[in-house]
């Protein structure tokens, strides 16, 4: 029985590795697209079979030599084998001799690709593309010139006659696409273009644009006209466009422009290689594509500013998915910093002066905050306000925003009377803390003679460093707080955010992350709530079993918390779907999800996308979703034809802690996800919503979700760590 499942698994893995290898030719990770390409190559059976032989030999060689299993499965080693196989079948008549020789060369191809891929990756951080295939094919062709009896042949595609009435321009487009797998046939091209259209609208548009432009440029620039060259240039242009316009670089208007320019370069280099190889037996093949893509990508790495034409180092899927993924990541986490400072006080304080303030926060000192305490009527003091003790904030503790070492303490400057300022000792009593990595924080105008810290003391985040006072240039008690880059008292300020805090806006409480408290707002720290933290403080090895239902269908799902080689915590369910966790000291995040959209894990990922580990009734927060993570967005496929220029749909989640139910002791997080169109799609709107229920023991008791198509998902905890 066990052997049987093991066998089944390896067969599955074998088939996967073949299909993914085919899909790789068009930079895809979809098995179905691999299957279409496999089918297309079989339109001319000997060519197709040689391709299949190629991928099988490459993958088996890799497996026997114990190369990385996941790389084999992804088609990393297989696709050069396919290209070599189909090329050999394309150029030469098959004979017994050839059948003996091709497998040997497939193994050579494998080695060349293993070496080149590795070398390019390590030395230049570049992909190998199809260079290995070109090298080994050239070796093969030159080697074969030792024999005089080898037949070179040309393929005919009789069924292409039905497309005879199509204009030559269109026919050549399809042939260009199909030539990528050495099937220069209109029919094959039509199948491939449909496959690409379904896989990615961005790539489809790029294929048409780059082909058309190359065809026009060819007639304008190159005097020699031959159908063969037109198709060759077309297919190099299409591949180049795929690589630079969506696969290796994020789609954007700039990348689109890059594609246009590159198409021109493709035409020029095609002309160059065409002449260079003229008189040799070597075909032009994908030489221009490889050359242009590699030097473009490589040269882009040396820019000072990488924010535009962003190179993709992690590509989870189609160009659309990659763009959504990266945009989403940027929206959510780009502003995150290496440090996670908290507000330097306890309780609610009022920002009496913010950045670019109206009193003293100007010029080099503009990135600072003044904090005071106010009562319900927004007054800073009780009684007349003419004594220091009338001020609510006077002598309140001031705390350290981060761990660090105290580097400077001024502590004996007397407090001013209300209304007076001490212009001699501008900053008054001040504590400066070195947080490492060049970041310092300074709290000023502290109370006199109550600072117990000495220089070189170590403090932890939240430790009391002094009391709020009225020393220095301070007419009434307040805390002046700033980040700076040196240990000097009164140094210029450095713009650095607070990691997580809560703002009170009218009657609402809003959680904000890596942001800057605004002038006249009331802010407080996130104070960890034990129950919420227990529910979301998932630890390695935690196991959870859930009873789930979608509409009427029920099933059981098991989760386990694991960690990957980059030390990222993730939850994996019994179907090997994964949701990655990013846990800061005060907020739980899901960073991304890989898998199907009907699992409990998927719905939990949406619902617990961001959770502050505190509890305030009606606390609200928002987060942005990546479109590819959501269902019910078929209209999105249409907008993706223009994705290089504009993203027409936005997905935002509005989260809220509900008031606690008097009868049960649970906490409920409510989430409403809205898909909203912009521009011409302004009227488009779809909503999905759900809730997570956390019980008093700090367990995720249940959650439910109603999708945009009204399907209802429910999950209830049945066991937690085997309990």
């Amino acid at each position: 029985m066990k052997l049987q499942t093991l066998l089944n698994e390896s067969i599955l893995m074998f088939i996967d590795s073949i299909l993914y290898s085919y899909a790789q030719i068009f930079f895809s990770n979809r098995r179905w697209l691999g299957a279409i390409i496999l089918f297309v190559t079989l339109l001319f059976p000997t060519v197709g079979l040689m391709g299949l032989l190629g991928v099988i030999i490459a993958n088996i060689t890799a497996a026997i030599l114990k190369f990385d299993q996941s790389k084999i499965k992804s088609g990393f080693y297989g696709f050069n084998g396919i290209l070599f196989g189909v090329a050999a079948g394309y150029y030469y008549e098959l004979s017994f001799f050839m059948l003996m020789l091709i497998p040997v060369f497939l193994i050579i191809t494998f080695f060349i690709s293993a070496v080149l891929e590795h070398y390019l990756a390590v030395a230049f951080n570049l992909p190998g593309l199809s260079l290995p295939f070109i090298f080994s094919l050239y070796i093969f062709i030159i080697f074969l010139t030792n024999y005089s009896n080898i037949q070179v042949h040309h393929l005919n595609f009789p069924y292409d006659n039905i497309f005879a009435s199509l204009p030559i321009f269109i026919k050549n487009y399809f042939k260009s696409l199909a030539l990528i797998v050495f099937q220069p046939s209109v029919f094959a091209g039509i199948l491939l273009s449909i496959g690409i259209l379904i896989f990615s609208r961005v790539l489809f548009v790029l294929s048409i644009v780059s082909y058309s432009l190359s065809a026009i440029l060819l007639t304008l620039i190159l005097p020699v006209q031959a159908e063969q060259l037109a198709i060759l240039v077309g297919f190099n242009a299409i591949l180049t466009a795929f690589a630079l316009g969506g696969v290796l670089i994020l789609p954007s208007p700039k990348s689109f422009l890059l594609v246009l320019i590159s198409t021109l370069i493709v035409v020029i280099f095609a002309g160059f290689f065409h002449r260079l190889l003229n008189g040799t037996l070597l075909p032009l093949l994908v030489l221009p594509f490889n050359f242009i893509v590699l030097f473009t990508i490589y040269s882009l790495k040396f820019r000072k500013e990488q924010s535009e034409l962003e190179l993709l180092y992690f590509a989870p899927g189609s160009p659309e998915e990659n763009l959504y993924y990266h945009q989403n990541r940027k929206n959510r986490f780009d502003r995150f910093k290496y440090f996670f400072p908290e507000l330097p006080f306890f309780g609610e304080w009022f920002v009496s002066q913010g950045f670019d303030g109206s009193y003293t926060h100007k010029d080099a000192w503009k990135y600072a905050w003044d904090f005071v305490v106010v009562d319900e009527k927004n007054s800073q003091f009780s009684n007349e306000g003419n004594q220091l003790t009338d001020y609510y904030c006077y002598k309140l503790p001031v705390s350290s925003p981060l761990d660090g070492k105290v580097v400077k303490v001024a502590s004996s400057i007397p407090n001013n009377e209300v209304g007076d300022v001490n212009l001699d000792k501008n900053w008054g009593n001040t504590v400066i803390i070195d947080h490492g990595e060049g970041l310092f924080s300074a709290a000023s105008h502290l109370d006199s003679d109550t600072i117990k810290l000495k220089e070189n003391d170590y403090v932890l985040k939240g430790d009391v460093i002094g009391l709020c006072g009225n020393s220095g240039r301070s007419p009434y008690p307040h805390i002046h707080f700033q980040f700076q880059l040196t240990d000097k008292i009164g140094d210029k300020t450095y713009r650095f955010p607070f990691a997580h805090f809560i703002e009170k806006r009218e009657d609402k409480l809003i959680a904000r992350s890596f942001d800057y408290p605004d002038e006249n707002s009331i802010v407080q720290n996130i104070v960890i709530h034990k129950t919420i933290k227990k529910a979301f403080g998932l630890r390695l090895g935690d196991k959870i079993t859930l009873q789930c239902s979608i509409n009427e269908k029920t099933f059981t799902e098991e989760w386990e918390v694991k960690v990957d080689i980059y030390n990222m915590l993730y939850i994996e369910n019994n179907n090997h779907e994964t949701a990655f966790i990013y846990l800061t000291d005060k907020v739980f995040y899901f960073s991304h999800y890989l898998g199907g959209k009907s699992s409990a894990l998927y719905h939990f990922f949406l619902l617990a996308y961001q959770v502050p580990l505190c509890y305030h009734a009606n606390l609200e927060w928002k987060d942005q979703y990546s479109l590819s993570q959501l269902t019910g967005t078929s209209i999105r496929y249409l907008t993706e034809f223009f994705l290089s220029f504009k993203n027409f749909i936005k997905a935002e989640g509005s989260f809220k802690y509900l008031e606690r139910d008097e009868k049960s002791d649970s906490f409920i997080i409510d989430n409403k996800i809205e898909l909203k169109g912009t521009g011409v799609l302004k009227s488009f709107k779809k909503t999905m919503s759900g809730q997570i229920k956390i019980n008093g023991d700090g367990e995720i008791e249940s959650f439910h979700f109603i999708n945009a198509n009204n399907s209802k998902f429910n999950a209830t905890l049945t066991s937690n760590n085997g309990d």
Partner: protein
């Protein structure tokens, strides 16, 4: 615009030479003719006299102030409304709306809090008398039980065992904080090691989870240092528990006992001048707790059971003069319609008593007696008041705490209680008692019936 001047009876005042300053003093406060903008005369006309008046605005203001004061000094703070101080439903509900939990000391108070919709886990169950039934209920409803003595601890252990329950508990600890007489009758003693015994006993029991420590060092405390000591001793215990058993406590409960602005009988200076502010109490407690040296997210929640200081000045008692009298020694006496039956705190405090209508400049030393036909009914031995006549109104201030719980039905019936809402409207929150209400519980054996 008065057409007719108010009549004031003649008075003879003895002159003392040498003590006057050139400005002179006014020995009583200015008349207080309204409460939160509502005229006293209107209140009496509608709800009668005597009348308890509670200001919703003042309660909320007090609670919010206290929350602000503590939360800006310590990151995690929770208030629990001390039911025994004033458990009128309307009063408790205002506190609960301000996010206060409930602190109860009997099954009756526990049920009252539950009935008001407070969840078990938000009820702190204190006190030496918790019946088996009450304990069972509290365990099941996950209330925070503060164990007072070993017999209670044994009963909980036995209950959990027989009923297959798990209980979250805390213990009450008493200690020497330099305040005498020591309050050592509640909880386990710190100095003699009983509290540590109890802690170990709880931790080693599989059904019990120790989640907090509680102390309540006294009532009407006038020293902040006592609180700092108490907080620091509890913090020390919490640290020992962490070091020895690796248990991080959920909370530390410092109880209540902050003095209000009522002057005690026998206290010479007025309360305003000698009572520390809540800020000073909070400073003392937070500095004691910071001795914990816990990691920021392991800091225990600070629970406060402040009662008196949050409600005293939100309560007023309007009373009417019934008669003027002259005693045998020539001293004047005033009889009013509010006696110690409803003004229990008259036994403790020199209340601030203010006339509710305009009066002349002349004053007279007088005693104030209540309406009861009992010698103990003395509202005040001696107070300087302007000349009052029958029907005039007095406002007795700072009566929010304890009066509406310790009052008694004795000789006469208890009066209406109204609340002046934030918007200025007046709501009746407890109706005056009737004969039927009082007789309801009585049973008359048939043979004693006269009818």
């Amino acid at each position: 615009m008065d057409t007719k001047k108010r009549y004031e009876r003649p008075v003879i005042t003895k002159h003392y030479s040498g003590f006057m300053n050139k400005i002179g003093t006014s020995s009583f406060s200015k008349p207080k003719k309204d409460i939160d903008g509502v005229a006293v005369t209107d209140l009496v006309e509608k709800f009668g006299s005597p009348l308890f008046v509670i200001s919703e605005k003042k309660i909320r203001q007090n609670q919010r102030n206290a929350v602000r004061i503590f939360k800006t000094r310590y990151p995690k703070v929770q208030f629990a409304w001390s039911y025994k101080t004033n458990y009128l439903n309307a009063v408790c509900s205002v506190f609960h709306q301000e996010n206060s939990w409930a602190e109860v000391v009997s099954e009756f108070e526990y049920d009252k809090a539950r009935k008001l919709g407070i969840k078990g886990e938000n009820i702190i169950f204190n006190g030496p008398d918790k019946s088996r039934n009450a304990l069972l209920k509290a365990i099941k409803e996950k209330a925070k039980i503060h164990i007072d003595h070993f017999d209670e601890l044994y009963e909980i252990i036995e209950l959990c065992d027989t009923e297959k329950l798990k209980a979250k508990v805390a213990i009450r600890i008493n200690m020497d904080v330099g305040v005498y007489p020591k309050w050592d009758r509640f909880g386990f003693n710190y100095e003699n090691g009983e509290s540590w015994q109890a802690i170990k006993r709880i931790i080693t029991n599989k059904d019990l989870e120790l989640i907090g420590l509680h102390t309540h060092i006294g009532t009407y405390m006038m020293s902040t240092e006592a609180y700092r000591l108490a907080a620091s001793k509890l913090a020390g215990l919490a640290r020992s528990i962490k070091e020895q058993f690796d248990i991080v406590l959920e909370y530390i409960d410092l109880g209540g006992g902050f003095a209000s602005h009522n002057t005690l009988l026998g206290q010479y200076l007025p309360a305003e001048e000698v009572i520390p502010s809540i800020e000073q109490f909070a400073d003392a407690i937070s500095s004691g707790l910071f001795e914990l040296n816990f990691k920021n997210d392991e800091l225990p929640l600070l629970i406060l059971e402040t009662g008196r200081a949050l409600i005293d000045d939100a309560g007023f008692l309007i009373s009417s003069v019934l008669a003027n009298k002259r005693l045998s020694d020539g001293k004047k006496a005033l009889i009013i319609d509010a006696g110690v039956n409803i003004l229990f705190t008259g036994f403790w405090y020199k209340h601030k008593i203010t006339p509710a209508q305009d009066c002349g400049l002349h004053t007279e030393e007088s005693a104030i007696f209540g309406p009861l036909c009992m010698n103990i009914d003395v509202v005040r031995e001696s107070i300087t008041l302007p000349l009052l006549k029958k029907g005039d109104k007095l406002i007795i201030e700072y009566v929010g705490a304890y009066d509406m719980t310790q009052w008694m039905q004795f000789i006469t019936l208890r009066p209406n209680v109204v609340m002046i809402m934030e918007d200025g409207s007046v709501e009746l929150i407890r109706k005056s008692e009737t004969l039927d209400y009082i007789s309801e519980m009585e049973l008359l054996p048939l043979k004693l019936s006269l009818k």
